[in-house]
């Protein structure tokens, strides 16, 4: 996917120590499961395109939220600070959470990005995410025409 890897041999393998409700639906576990060497609660999952740095953040999230169903999470302040990071990191977290099917992390990170987009004009959104406009003027006009009330620029 063109994402630079950090030179960390252990980055690609995440030892999942039976964290309940987390990563249960991981998309690619079956391909990379290795025989359990220890207590039987440990599986190895290969995570291409996710660096050790992002993985560390994912683990940090999981460890903080592992007992959500029992005693509630670490609170909104912690969550808010957790996603107070650069765009690149947020998007890597989204991809990791999506790949590992970690619902809570996916919701938290997607909500952060959605909040950034809220009430922005078309040009502000393009500028915020550095998106190139690949519409022709006619195509863009046609899309705007479908709902002109939504544009205030």
């Amino acid at each position: 996917m063109g994402f630079p890897r950090e030179a960390d041999d252990h980055a690609e393998k995440l030892r999942w120590r039976g964290v309940p409700g987390v990563g249960d639906g991981s998309k690619d576990v079956s391909n990379d499961q290795q025989p359990n060497r220890n207590s039987g609660a440990e599986v190895s999952i290969s995570l291409p395109s996710i660096t050790g740095k992002i993985l560390a953040k994912v683990i940090e999230y999981c460890e903080k939220h592992v007992f959500d169903f029992k005693q509630g999470g670490p609170g909104e302040d912690w969550d808010r600070e957790f996603v107070n990071v650069d765009q690149a990191i947020i998007f890597d977290l989204i991809r990791a959470a999506d790949y590992l099917a970690i619902q809570g992390l996916l919701d938290l990170t997607c909500k952060k990005v959605a909040a950034q987009m809220a009430n922005k004009s078309l040009e502000e959104i393009r500028k915020l995410f550095n998106i190139e406009n690949d519409y022709t003027p006619e195509e863009e006009a046609a899309v705007r025409q479908e709902h002109p009330w939504a544009f205030f620029d």
């Binding site: 996917m1 063109g2 994402f3 107070n84 990071v85 650069d86 765009q87 690149a88 947020i90 998007f91 989204i94 991809r95 999506d98 996916l106 997607c110 909500k111 952060k112 990005v113 959605a114 950034q116 987009m117 809220a118 009430n119 922005k120 004009s121 078309l122 959104i125 393009r126 500028k127 915020l128 995410f129 550095n130 998106i131 190139e132 406009n133 690949d134 519409y135 195509e139 863009e140 899309v143 705007r144 479908e146 709902h147 009330w149 939504a150 544009f151």
Partner: protein, 269 residues
């Protein structure tokens, strides 16, 4: 979160981008569709537009005999907000408010509104009308006792929303008697509010004259005229009902030349 030089968001899988957009508002979603072609692709996904449809939309549509079928939820949303559907065996029309996605209903004058003397064809008749969504409208021949009323169950409407009730009509060329004000009342949560309305537009008169508080009509997008009967705040309680009345039963002058389409309940901004 700092803006970056590279376009990081383009590396997201499309369903993640759809998920993000589904967490924004209707207005933001429409804006996103014009950002770029890849944003458009994510913004038109069912997971996004499913959010803007009412949760009971399947229930509403299942009761329509020729239920319209659409390729996507976005197409369904646009049909419901631009055209609407006739429901309840022709008694009402249903559509969505385009920018807020709140529910809008129109009660058919000929099928779902009480009109005193409508049982006598000397006074009122139900006739087809090309400009109406309904199969028939109520045409006034002549009447002296003008008395129209309707009730509506608020659970059909969007909760936590302020609604207005509107009298939808047209005056014919030979109209008579509607240059004088009518009484309009709305009854909700044990409170009745009264206003005076006038169906004939006056040149230079704004919608509501602050001096004598008479409400005058406005022309709608569908070319019918409307005048506001009143407003209410729909909390969303199961048993709430709103009642509206438009009448002139005091002076009892002759009234003729009115085509009455229905009563609309739609959100007020």
């Amino acid at each position: 979160m700092e803006a970056n030089n590279s376009c990081e968001i383009s590396r997201l899988p499309e369903d993640c981008l759809s998920r993000i957009i589904s967490l924004t508002s209707l207005r933001d979603t429409c804006c996103c569709s014009a950002v770029s072609t890849s944003f458009l692709s994510a913004a038109i996904a069912d997971v996004v537009w499913g959010n803007f449809l009412p949760t009971d939309i399947d229930n509403i549509l299942s009761k329509i005999p020729n239920r319209p079928v659409f390729a996507s939820k976005k197409d369904l949303y646009y049909h419901l907000s631009n055209h609407g559907v006739i429901v309840d065996d022709g008694k009402m029309s249903f559509r969505l408010d385009r920018s807020s996605s709140a529910k809008i209903y129109i009660l058919s004058a000929s099928r779902a509104v009480g009109i005193i003397w409508a049982w006598d064809p000397r006074y009122w008749q139900c006739v087809p009308n090309n400009n109406s969504m309904f199969s028939e409208v109520a045409q006034l021949i002549v009447v002296w006792w003008f008395d129209i009323f309707a009730n509506f169950r608020c659970k059909n409407l969007s909760p936590k929303t302020k609604y207005g009730a509107y009298f939808i009509f047209k005056l014919e060329d030979d109209t008579e008697g509607f240059d004088r004000p009518l009484e309009a009342s709305i009854y909700f949560h044990h409170v009745e509010s009264h206003h005076r309305i006038c169906l004939e537009a006056r040149n230079g008169m704004s919608r509501q004259n602050p001096n004598n508080q008479i409400r005058y009509p406005q022309v709608r997008d569908d070319q019918w005229s409307e005048v506001e009967i009143g407003e209410f705040y729909n909390v969303g309680e199961e048993d709430d009902e709103v009642g509206v009345k438009v009448h002139e039963t005091r002076e009892l002058g002759p009234k003729r030349g009115l085509i009455f389409n229905g009563i609309e309940f739609r959100p007020k901004i």
